[in-house]
Symmetry: C2
């Protein structure tokens, strides 16, 4: 049985060049001696691989390492010329970053945009932002592009598939168009998956192999990591938890069903409920804000709650209970190691988090929650572009064989 | 991206001897030429490996193969002396099979037993049944034992962990005790997992990599296959869907919460509801049976429904709706390729299945159900022992290195 257990934890390590490039990306400059230890390969094989990657321009020498007593070793690092483009398309926003090989941003742009404008208009704007970055000196050429879109994606084909809130995008060749336009490999994924990837790379879950990243934004979705890999499901739509029914007598959802989680909570539902409460006179805080701005958003409810408005607090608590109820079931099903709450409504902070936690801990199988942290995102709005950069770099590294 | 996609589908193939032994288990006698093709290894390496396995007594010659035009090839097969023990412990039953190398039963025993008698009494009875099989000539020595238990299991440690309906079993060294007693490796898993493994090996899902096996018995649980492997979760309790809340105002569950799926449907809940209905006079079919037997079970409800008793039909439909509602959410979350319904209540057949399907197809994300079969088990009560035999043989083969 130790034998059996060992086989389960021995994940395929991937080819040496990929492991090496990832290590330089994640750790920065290291000595040949450290590389040889960390990658567990004989020194001659490592040296040969490094020579090859240096000759190809992917890796460079970076000065002498601190002595380990014996011969002085030389540091190596990723080429300073590596550049990745990371794009996070939301329902109402475009975020673009150009990063170096270590995924540190060299240029970043954010602007509002309506995904319903269609793929041509949106991707044209992405191209303009990347052209601007080039003019600004952020890169000469891109080594890979990663992009997230707010809907189901066929990861293999690099296209959105029947995305409910993205009219005109169904099977649009996003990957191939970006690759052709910029002369580099490209990768397309769901926006929640790239957030989960980003959070694991640089956020609150660096060493956790099985976790759920729950995005609560305009809509609600879940990125799933299982055994250190994003789990996408048979059709690429795993994690679409926004349409799980939480109230058989609840509001009608945009999908046509009744009482979906997204119809009960999430940015759009919260804005709707806030407006109703403001008009009913139940909340002075919201009535004031509605009068001032003409409309209400989740931010107004969060501000009202921070001021102690009881109705705002109650709205957030009810939402947290709805999310927590769904997550409790998913915890019993999937038995994850951690849950991360992200997306725009994560700004509602610990009031929301406390309610989600309370329901999850009360309603899930005790064994599954005995050691289950439920935490807020650390990367916040940068989770998506960070994950897109990780995907882009992995793709580029794979092709540096 | 084709590159990236390829990496995702290239699962670790495992060492050659393991692939070879599994192939002989699953295909029966094959020629060296067929083996070389199927395993995609050079002929000399295959021949050397076969010689080693023949010398060790694991593989044997089995006469000449049909000619392929060139030199006549010889068939090889697993040694006819291989024997595996497969044990399926239910809440109220013990099933034991001794199988040959191809997992065909050589001896089989089934008897009622109360898991609450504790590990010493139950495992002693398992030992007695295996001793009987030995006296009956089913085996001289066992090559491995696989056992399933009705509760969460630490697969790595080979022990039950906080199993709710198995008093006295918490962290009892089931694996080590069986291994010592019988002088062979042993493996312990959850009963629903072994059913899923069995169904994939010999039942309705042979070539499906991502599916859910839903056991509806006294309790309700789910075996999860992801990327061709059983997914057990962080604490080994993934798939415990019986305690997902389906009715905030439903009956109190044994776990202390309200309206759990198991408290609403499943063998125990259905027997309870049937008795209430019989006493209320709403069902003549059930009142007759209660008078006759003194108690009611799911079988009585099934028979009543088959006779056209409207109340029995309604009880099954309501149960199917509760199960379907939970599965609809899990389909949106996990996006599986197939759902198999098994366990004792699968005997309720197509009336139950139709109701589950109807809710799943109506309530899940359309993309996730566009090609999602929901089917009944093909192995029925033998699913568990079949899966236990698969686990035992995999373990034995691994150790034949």
């Amino acid at each position: 049985m130790t034998h059996h257990g060992a086989e389960l934890t021995m994940r395929p390590p991937g080819p040496l060049h990929l492991r090496l490039l990832r290590l330089l990306r994640d750790q920065g400059p290291v000595s040949r001696a450290q590389l040889s230890d960390a990658l567990d390969v004989p020194r001659p094989r490592l040296v040969a691989e490094l020579e090859r990657l240096v000759a190809a321009g992917y890796v460079a020498e970076a000065g002498p390492a601190a002595s380990r007593g014996g011969r002085r070793s030389t540091l190596v690092e990723l080429s300073r010329h590596l550049r990745f483009a990371a794009v996070d398309l939301g329902a109402t926003s475009i975020d673009v970053e150009v990063t170096d090989g270590r995924l540190e941003p060299v240029a970043a742009y954010s602007e509002p945009a309506d995904i319903r404008s269609g793929p041509k208009a949106i991707l044209h704007r992405v191209d303009e932002l990347l052209a601007k970055a080039k003019i600004d000196g952020a890169y000469e050429r891109l080594d890979a592009i990663g992009i997230g879109v707010p809907g189901p994606v066929s990861f293999r084909d690099g296209v959105p598939v029947s995305p409910p809130i993205m009219p005109g995008w169904d099977r649009f060749p996003v990957r191939d168009l970006l690759a052709r336009e910029h002369g580099c490999p490209a990768v397309v994924d769901n926006d929640v998956n790239i957030m989960a990837i980003g959070e694991r790379h640089a956020g609150v879950v660096p060493s956790v192999d099985d976790f759920m990243f729950v995005k609560i934004g305009t809509g609600i979705g879940c990125g799933i990591y299982l055994s250190s890999e994003v789990y996408r499901g048979t059709d690429g739509c795993a994690g679409d938890i926004g349409h799980i029914q939480v109230d058989a007598h609840g509001p009608v959802c945009a999908c046509g069903n009744v009482g979906c989680l997204e119809a009960v909570f999430g940015g759009a539902a919260l804005a709707r409920d806030a407006a109703a409460v403001a008009r009913s006179g139940a909340s002075a805080a919201l009535a004031d804000r509605l009068g001032e701005h003409g409309s209400l958003s989740a931010r107004d409810v969060g501000e009202g709650a921070a001021e102690g408005d009881a109705t705002c607090i109650q709205l957030i608590r009810a939402g947290g209970q709805a999310v927590g109820g769904v997550l409790a079931g998913l915890v019993s099903f999937a038995n994850p190691s951690m849950i991360v709450i992200g997306g725009g409504l994560a700004q509602l902070g610990h009031l929301l988090l406390a309610e989600i936690r309370s329901v999850v801990y009360r309603r899930s199988l005790p064994l599954a929650t005995s050691n289950l942290p439920v935490v807020l995102t650390e990367l916040g709005p940068r989770a998506g572009v960070t994950g897109a950069a990780v995907l882009a770099s992995d793709l580029a590294f794979e092709q540096m064989a």
